[in-house]
């Protein structure tokens, strides 16, 4: 009897076409009033469209709307709201720009979505100390625009114009990571609101040093925690000097192997390349169509060098030698800022360009990161598997870090194609783990890679992570269902 009822419920729930609600509404009208009492009526919403907007990110995971969305304006309000949710056992979902790729904001168990973007101040800029503190509403482009006349910039640049605190939460990285590092290396301090409302400063309040040996590395713990351990309300970042001169280089190769071999050799030769991005022929074609470019449709490397004029000439020369040895036919370089901008915009739009290959379809991006020496074999294998599984996919990535993305474009309504995508993704993940790599270099675990995380870290590691989680979030209210 119970089984029949469950079966009936499954059929009913699959009829709700777009959004799926994990559980019954558990948030009473009284609770919503209590939320309004903290942040003010205009800063709480239970409207259907607003909930839907906050129930998904840029990934293909189904929208799971929260029960309400709140917009706190300062950390005290965040703390009081969190304490309120803690007392009533209601899940808490932090929300920044909603540009994640792993379903990190999907409220699969309902709860309250904390949209932190109304807190958007840039605080404590110290040009002398190369540091700045930002609130969650500040995006990476907004920060760099603010800094433009100081001679400093923040180099971590994932494709989207993401919230910097959100980037800290997912441990983001970008095209510049090969030279400037990822969020992990560039976050010095975090202000975090814990599940019960306590406010934690991970390196001590107001501290902004270049390095420290004091106690356990709490900052590192929260970077990449994807909202499962606390809400990040400010991040203190490490800034870098804007490079004196920049040269962008484009080289076309006859084969994927040649391009990736060149990458490995460039890195191994010690050239301090700032960006080294690979786009395969499918990706180049998509970018050409989407951004109106005219690159040759063949595996291509985009490189960028930063430094003084003299240094650049030398570096470009050495790079040219290496790529020509690997059969590169076309080597073009440009110091012109408009040209360089166009080039990198095309690369940053890769996600949208790939989706545009098959309009109406969803996209899924793999994110494996392997040791450089194993990169050629895994990429060649991925290309073969794409053919074998009959899937539309483009390879693009930060090959300098050993990290590449296979952007799969598929019809989510087609169950068979969906199944093949999932099989391909798991296969690729396992191949990466077999080469001692990781299943996710920069996107995070989110909803879809929890099983791979177990295989990657191993049982002892997973158990330790679970224990840490239960200490910081004993009621499992912080973004439940993600990571672990």
């Amino acid at each position: 009897m119970a089984g029949q009822l469950r079966g009936a419920a499954r059929i009913l729930s699959s009829w709700r076409s777009y959004c799926s609600k994990g559980q019954q509404e558990k948030v009473s009208a009284d609770f919503v009033e209590a939320l309004k009492a903290v942040v003010g009526e205009p800063n709480v919403s239970t409207a259907g469209v607003v909930l839907e907007q906050h129930g998904h990110d840029e990934s293909m995971h189904r929208c799971s709307p929260p029960d309400a969305v709140v917009w706190p304006q300062n950390v005290e309000q965040v703390s009081r709201l969190a304490a309120l949710c803690y007392d009533h056992r209601i899940p808490i979902i932090p929300f920044g720009t909603g540009t994640g790729l792993e379903g990190g904001v999907n409220a699969i168990k309902g709860g309250i979505c904390f949209n932190l973007t109304r807190m958007d101040r840039i605080l404590d800029l110290s040009v002398d100390d190369f540091s700045v503190t930002v609130e969650p509403g500040v995006t990476r482009k907004a920060l760099n625009s603010y800094l433009r006349d100081t001679g400093l910039w923040f180099p971590v640049d994932p494709g989207a114009d993401a919230s910097l605190c959100g980037m800290a939460a997912t441990g983001a990285s970008g095209t510049n990571a090969v030279r400037y590092g990822t969020m992990l290396e560039n976050v010095v301090n975090l202000e975090v609101v814990l599940a019960d409302g306590q406010i934690l400063h991970t390196s001590g309040q107001g501290r902004r040093f270049q390095k420290s040996s004091a106690g356990y590395n709490l900052t590192g713990l929260f970077v990449g925690s994807e909202g499962t351990l606390g809400l990040i309300t400010t991040a203190t970042l490490r800034l870098h000097g804007i490079p004196e001169a920049t040269t962008a280089v484009v080289c076309a190769f006859p084969s994927l192997q040649a391009a990736v071999d060149s990458t490995v050799q460039i890195i191994q030769s010690g050239l301090p390349v700032a960006r080294i991005e690979f786009l395969d022929d499918v990706m180049i074609d998509a970018c050409n169509k989407y951004s109106g470019l005219t690159n040759a449709v063949t595996p291509t490397l985009f490189l960028e060098f930063h430094g003084s004029q003299k240094l650049l000439e030398e570096q470009v020369q050495r790079a040219e030698q290496i790529v020509r040895q690997n059969g590169s036919s076309h080597f073009a370089w440009s110091k012109d800022p408009e040209e360089r901008s166009r080039l990198w915009t095309a690369r940053h739009n890769a996600w949208y360009a790939a989706l545009a290959l098959r309009p109406g379809c969803k996209g899924y991006s793999t994110d494996v990161c392997v040791p450089i020496s194993r990169l050629p074999e895994i990429m060649v294998q991925a290309k073969k598997d794409l053919k074998a599984f009959g899937l539309t996919g483009a390879l693009v990535g930060h090959v300098g870090d050993g990290n590449f993305h296979c952007i799969l474009v598929f019809n989510s309504e087609d169950a068979d194609e969906y199944r093949r995508v999932m099989e391909f993704v798991e296969q690729l993940g396992r191949n990466a783990l077999a080469t001692n790599g990781t299943c996710t270099g920069e996107h995070g675990i989110g909803l879809g890679k929890r099983q791979l995380l177990k295989e990657e870290i191993g049982p002892v590691g997973i158990e330790i992570m679970r224990q840490i989680k239960s200490v910081l979030d004993p009621k499992n209210l912080m973004n439940p269902g993600k990571v672990l």
Binding site: A142, R148, D149, G151, L152, W153, I242, P337
Partner: protein, 255 residues
């Protein structure tokens, strides 16, 4: 023309990314503690002048800013982008509110003549008042040709070809130098100031120092066509491969 001097006007305005708030007494917008920076169109003008210098078509780029003391920050950015000299025409804060395109064009006219500039490059308009008048007035006062809303600029001998963005599309005109050109958005993408260039300027400031004196007479006197003597005329110059002196002096400008 290797002898050509470019005079570039730069205005300090509230940064474009700031959310403007009206003062509670409704007398204006909140400017205290609000981030200010160089007007984006002025940045484009500076960038164009510096590029011309890099192509060796212009000998010297002189940046000018009119306003209170803080304008020196804007000049510093211009110097860090590659301008050779910065001239700050100081206007006390109490009078700065009344400083408009008419007064600024008088200043630019006088300076263009004094500095023997052959090209005056300005942004097409400022993002705070959106006046879009200074370039045109300056050209009229100097009796020079003007190429406004430039999206492309080519110097050839003693002529400059300007491609202008107009309502109907693009218009190309050729002007005989000396001329006034105002920059539109698509003229170029301005470079960012880099640390080494900023440090050059800071070093000069620490070494030289300069003094300001309170104005001896009002800058913006009776309206219409009288603009009496401008009280202070400061020069800011970075150290290094470019010229290396700081000076200040009082000058009378013709009204």
């Amino acid at each position: 023309m290797a002898e050509l001097r470019a005079l570039v006007g730069v205005k300090r305005v509230i940064d474009y990314a700031v959310k403007i708030r009206v003062k509670p007494d409704k007398t204006g917008v909140v400017t205290d503690g609000v981030k200010h920076s160089m007007n984006p169109f002025c940045e484009i003008a500076v960038e164009e002048a510096v590029r011309l210098k890099e192509k060796k078509l212009v000998k010297e780029v002189i940046a000018v800013s009119c306003g209170p003391k803080q304008c020196q920050e804007t000049l510093r950015t211009a110097l860090a982008m590659g301008a050779d000299r910065g001239i700050h025409v100081e206007v006390p804060e109490s009078e700065a509110e009344r400083l408009g395109p008419l007064q600024v064009s008088r200043v630019l006219t006088a300076l263009a003549q004094k500095e023997k500039a052959g090209l005056v490059l300005l942004g097409k308009q400022a993002i705070d008042d959106d006046c879009n008048q200074t370039g045109q007035m300056t050209a009229a006062m100097l009796d020079w040709p003007q190429g406004t809303f430039a999206s492309k600029l080519t110097l050839e001998g003693d002529k400059v070809t300007v491609e202008r963005e107009i309502d109907g599309g693009l218009e190309t005109i050729r002007l005989k130098l000396p001329a006034v050109v105002t920059a539109d958005l698509r003229l170029n993408e301005p470079r960012y100031a880099t640390l080494p260039n900023i440090m050059d300027y800071e070093a000069a400031r620490a070494l030289g120092g300069h003094e300001s004196q309170p104005p001896s007479s009002p800058v913006c006197g009776p309206p219409a066509f009288a603009c009496s003597s401008l009280p202070l005329y400061l020069q800011l110059v970075p150290i290094g491969t470019r010229t290396c002196f700081l000076s200040s002096s009082n000058h009378d400008f013709p009204s």
